[in-house]
Amino acid sequence: MSAVIGIAFGNTSSSLAVANQDGKVDVIANPDGDRSIPSVLSYVGEDEYHGAQAKAQLVRNPSNTITNFRDYVGKSFDELTHHETVGAKVIKTANGQPGFEIAREEGKKETVTVAEATKRHLKQIKLAAEDYIGKTIEGVVITVPTDFTAQQRIELTNISNDAGLKVLQLINEPSAALLAHLSNEPERLQEDKIYVVSDFGGVRSDAAVISVRGGILTILATAHEFGLGGDKLDQALADYFAKEFQKKYSTNAKSNARSISKLIAESIVVKKTLSNVQTSTCSIESLADGFDFHTTINRLRYELTARNVLSEMTAFVEKVVKKAGLETLDIDEVLLVGGSSNTPKLASNVSLIFPESTVVVAPSLSTKALDPAELICRGAALQASLIESFDEDEVKESLQPVVVNTQHLTNPIGIKDAEGNFQSILVAETAYPIKKSLEVTNGSESSVIIELYEGKRTVKETVIEAEQDEDDSDDDYSDEEPEVKKEVVYECGELLSELCLKDLKPNSKLEVIVNITQNGTLHVSGRELKQGAVAVKGEVTF
């Protein structure tokens, strides 16, 4: 007996999940009871610590504590663009690989390469999964950020296989998160929508614009911002506390590394607490110069303190929409992912930049939203259970560029109705091959024309009359600008073809079918929906 799992491997934390054949997903807690497992290893003498226990060592034993190493996987030391400042220092090992120098028992030095650290980390995850499921883990789907290079993907696959976790597939984090979200309700996968998936982690932020067409996901744009994430929020909060401490005791709480570590550790706790409740206490024993620090902070104060970081995050979401050549109006849903997406202010800031028609999915806005920190590993688990039943060769074949690189429709295609409006059949960004049909009628006419058009995007503006409460007599400030509701409307653009249906009885049921083959030929046909009716057909090319 064996099982397959999905793993989300982050710089800050990792999580793992298992899905059954019905699509039910369990996020697995490690033996410490953590579902969000810090991606941290720490060494004290001959003992190895992992997860939360290792992270706790950052205060007392930072130089032997390895953290934030995920992004280094598959890179040589010289290729690193940023160096982690927390925990053990990154060094260049003998073969040019990045690594860490750790003091072990009896003053012995051990060099742990990034590959080795990753392997040890994955082994711990494997243990946690086997402990929970009670079966050996045969295969895994691991998620990576979209900017992971081919080299990094190969290296991670090798490391994981080495750790005894056979990689079935590596998939992109935003796609995994979106898959989990789409699978959470039965019909969602079939809805043609454009999503922004925005992942706010600990040390970086990632975003992707993804179109979903007929259940096929296509990434339209991605954005990455290193250094923007939860750690920056912790930093802002720590600075605030340090100032208060300075005022109270005239002592600098950031004068030594140990005090800083204590301050940061408590700031993380306070930050998470404020995601759930309005006020939090903060207490640190012997923070600096032997002074204990006790204070309380409310959510509003925290939000003001972290204002700059939060608006950077919001701007980051806006940026990815622009990169996709779209406007916020074009986005149907924004899915907030990553631990930092639990921050209520972040969710509300993000919803402010989108029109009302755009749904923002975050726990503070909807109780139905899945835990943002778990979305990625859930998606990975679902994918693992999907491909588990396929041959290895079949999966490999499916991942070939010829399969994956696909033509996508640039403009929507549809027909003109009797009122002259454009009625879409295929939306933009639909991948080939595709076939879709639309049911229509001839009304009272005996002969009708199916005019196939490309849609042309326009923005319709409707002024909404300021709502006037009737029983509200004091007509105070009417200086508010009238609200303008904008929406994207497609009009008939280029006429592609005409098809004529004749000799129809009034109110017959008709069907228009548009079918684009692999090579891009567009077949259009129209027919009466009755036995024996002959379809009228034609072809259009690009």
């Binding site: 096929i216 996901l217 998606g379 499916s398 996508h408 639309l438 592609l496 005409e498």
Partner: protein, 423 residues
């Protein structure tokens, strides 16, 4: 609300006007259930329609994979081979293709393969070459059958009237197992349902809901059967328009009649099954029992009171009986006691009388008459207690004691003066 198309008419039925905008090539994300479907479409170069068909056929072939190689290998009998090609409609078209086993279950691939085999076997060139008669009658029927089977509309019309594929219900008066006999009938009939899947008869273990669902569904059975296949041929010549219209009208009327008859047939079938279904009977019995049980429960209150009253009465009777018995018994006891007392008294009297004689009248035999007189007198006066006491004192005692006892008791009684000896 459905979309209405603009009116208009064109001389050509189709006109391509303009190319559509150049598509964009992008990678799609290899995740999710629909990606794998996309991959198989792309890898095998299928159009969407082909893909849909393959997916549908996959289900069929899975069931019939075994022994699929000998498809169409059946031999046609002499009658069929000699069938008049002008009368092709009355031939068994599945048997013509060697598919008399699969029939409506045959998929397109199987039909093509069977057809190829028949062509090889019955092609006129081949027959004449092997010395057979130059006859292409049967070959014509094969081609006709193939044409029908590949056109989904025509095939449906043929399947509607292909009674060879039907499973008939058992003759009414014969002996049969209900489920064995009717199960296959409904299974076969189910293929005509517009709504799929169709609930099947099931077996004796079915729940009431399942059985109800079954009869509900079949009570409203909506079949797609059509009867165009039985149409009389409409004459091609345009000369006799009236006759043509007449035939057409006749055909339409006939189709309607066939359809009605067929609907009635299904209704009758369902009714008969319902009537004979042992489960229905069981459910009815159960319902009846349940009703009785409910009634019984409903009346439990008054019944309990009645029971209590009866019990009370029985208890009372029992008590009365016991009392009577006790009384009788105690009566008996007192009688016995009395008799015992009487006997004791007699014995005591005898002892008292005897006592004086035993001590030889105190050595004074001359006085014996007077002594005995006194004793008798005293005995008369004695209470039962005194009698007992005196008897106890005097029995076996010496003369003095006896004498003293008498003197004492006489004094006690205050009768000393009336006595002769014991004064």
């Amino acid at each position: 609300m459905s979309i209405t198309l603009p009116s208009g008419t064109r001389s050509e039925t189709f006109k391509a006007v303009h190319k559509y905008t150049e598509p964009t090539r992008r990678p799609i994300e290899p995740v999710g259930p629909l990606f794998l479907a996309h991959a198989s479409r792309t890898l095998r170069g299928h159009t969407w329609s082909e893909f849909e068909k393959l997916e549908a056929e996959k289900n069929v072939t899975v069931v019939q994979e075994n022994g699929d190689d000998d498809i169409g290998d059946e031999d046609q009998d002499e009658d069929l081979l000699a069938h008049d090609p002008r009368e092709w409609k009355s031939a068994d078209l599945y048997a013509v293709l060697g598919l008399s086993k699969l029939r409506y279950r045959a998929n397109e691939d199987q039909i093509r393969r069977a057809h190829r085999k028949q062509v090889l076997k019955h092609h006129p060139d081949k027959k004449s070459a092997s010395g057979g008669l130059e006859q292409d009658g049967f070959f014509k029927i094969i081609q006709k059958a193939f044409e029908i089977m590949l056109d989904s509309n025509k095939r449906q019309q043929y399947d509607s009237v292909d009674t060879n594929a039907d499973v008939l219900p058992p003759p009414a008066k014969s002996k049969y197992d209900f489920f064995e006999a009717f199960g296959p009938v409904f299974e076969s009939e189910a293929r005509f349902s517009k709504k799929q899947p169709v609930p099947l008869l099931g077996d004796a273990s079915a729940t009431k809901e399942q059985v109800d669902e079954f009869y509900n569904f079949w009570g409203k059975f909506d079949s797609w059967k059509t009867f165009e296949f039985k149409d009389d041929d409409v004459p091609d010549d345009t000369a006799n328009r009236d006759h043509k219209r007449y035939i057409e009208r006749k055909n339409i009327a006939a189709r309607k009649k066939f359809k009605q008859e067929d609907n009635k047939r299904v209704i009758d079938l369902v009714e008969r099954a319902h009537l004979e279904d042992p489960r229905i009977k069981a459910f009815k019995d159960e319902a009846k029992k349940e009703k009785e049980r409910k009634k019984w429960e409903r009346e439990a209150g008054s019944r309990q009171a009645a029971e209590a009253a009866a019990a009370k009465k029985a208890a009372e009777e029992e008590a009365a009986k016991k009392a009577a018995e006790d009384a009788a018994a105690s009566k008996q006891n007192s009688k016995k006691a009395k008799e015992a007392a009487k006997a004791a008294k007699k014995k005591n009297k005898r002892a008292v009388r005897g006592s004086v004689k035993d001590v030889d009248f105190f050595g004074d035999a001359a006085q014996s008459a007077g002594i005995e007189e006194d004793v008798d007198y005293l005995l008369e006066k004695f209470s039962d207690v005194q009698l007992g006491e005196v008897a106890a004192k005097v029995t076996g005692a010496d003369a003095a004691t006896v004498k003293q006892a008498f003197v004492d008791v006489a004094a006690e009684l205050g009768v000393s003066s009336s006595l002769k000896y014991f004064k």
